[in-house]
């Protein structure tokens, strides 16, 4: 079994993170696995973790009454799933489901927030990794929302 710190260090999200910080972060992590079709998290439940996907793909879904689940994003190996752990009230906004068998590293949000509060340089290092991803996803979501391929384009 690969030690968790090695998995964290090898994941693109944490590329370049100093070794001491990798150990701090890895101390909040655990390997997790989800079968195809299984929920990684559900809308409205506590956002108590975030995930680094190692294998498989995860779909983010909104449930539309009368229409069922609608997928608006899929994420795969090398990508991060979950940002609601960063902001209050720490509740998931959407469903996340494993499209196929998923293996990931899950990080305990309370543990990690505590370490970030105790060591703001760690918090800053994490924010420098999260913010570009969130901004890129926001820009992509806006382009999606514009429905550019529709009739009016």
């Amino acid at each position: 079994m690969t030690p968790l710190a090695d998995l964290v260090r090898a994941h693109p999200f944490f590329a370049g993170l100093p070794a001491g910080m990798v150990d701090l972060v890895a101390g909040c992590g655990a390997n997790v696995a989800y079968p195809a079709g299984g929920y990684v998290f559900r809308e409205g439940r506590p956002a108590d973790r975030f995930f680094l996907v190692r294998h498989g793909r995860v779909s983010l879904e909104a449930f539309l009454p009368g229409r069922g689940p609608r997928v608006f994003q899929t994420l795969g190996p090398g990508e991060v799933v979950g940002a609601s752990w960063l902001v209050e009230p720490h509740l998931w906004s959407w469903d996340a489901r494993a499209l196929d068998a998923v293996r990931a590293v899950a990080f305990d949000a309370v543990c990690l927030r505590g370490k970030c509060d105790a060591d703001p340089t760690l918090g800053y290092a994490l924010m420098k990794r999260f913010v570009p991803i969130l901004v890129a996803r926001l820009q992509e979501a806006r382009l999606q929302a514009l429905d550019l391929y529709g009739r009016a384009s």
Partner: protein, 270 residues
Amino acid sequence: MTAPPLPLTVREVVGETAEASTIVLDDERGGLAEPVPGQFNMLYPFAVGEAAISLSAFDAGRLTHTVRAVGPVSEALRRLEPGAQVGVRGPFGRGWPMRRARGRDVVLVAGGIGLAPLRPAIHAVLAEREAFGRVLILYGARSPADRLFIAELESWDARDDVDLAVTVDYADGGWRGRVGFVTALLPHIRFDPDHTIAMMCGPEAMMRAVASKLTARGVPASDVHLSMERNMKCAVGTCGHCQFGPLFVCKDGPVFTYAEIEQLLAVREI
């Protein structure tokens, strides 16, 4: 003066999506010049009007156009049946840089109906696959049902020498593929930015985003090519309908380098 429209016979009409159809025309007598990938023809459903439609494929005696119904002319084209006649002028415009692409990695990015003008370039690359480096095809559609050329997408996906990534903006539960905007595919592809030619076609907002990301990864703006769309009438640069700053899309394009038009794309008035 350009030549009058040449009446050609519709050989086949294939429904691609709820809004788009592919129309195959017979030109076995070779009445029109041989097109190059990226060029367009002016199609004239008689008694309705004329519209610029990119070639989505061509081979000896067959000219293929894929059209999405957005107005009376394109709607009339979609309603054509085999045996009907349509007037054709062309081919027009500057096409994709196929010669310049040889020996390089080729990144082809399409959004929506924009896969149609890129398809002849893909055919040309695959016909001489050994002449090119990595071949990466990225395609974004509105939904799974809005994908064009589904059987052909599957055949490209089955090849070991092509990297194909398809994504849709939205999907219901049954879709097993990627969901997200086409720009989300870019971080996952590998190419040599110093030896890459990029070709893209889709909505302008999409192309601006893709071109910006490609140049940020080191691809020179002169190696990033975009196929532009404007309302074209004469197709030879005299009427001014498709004027784009100092350029005419029909005559100087429709394919431009990002270096040529980056600043023009930022001017909202044009």
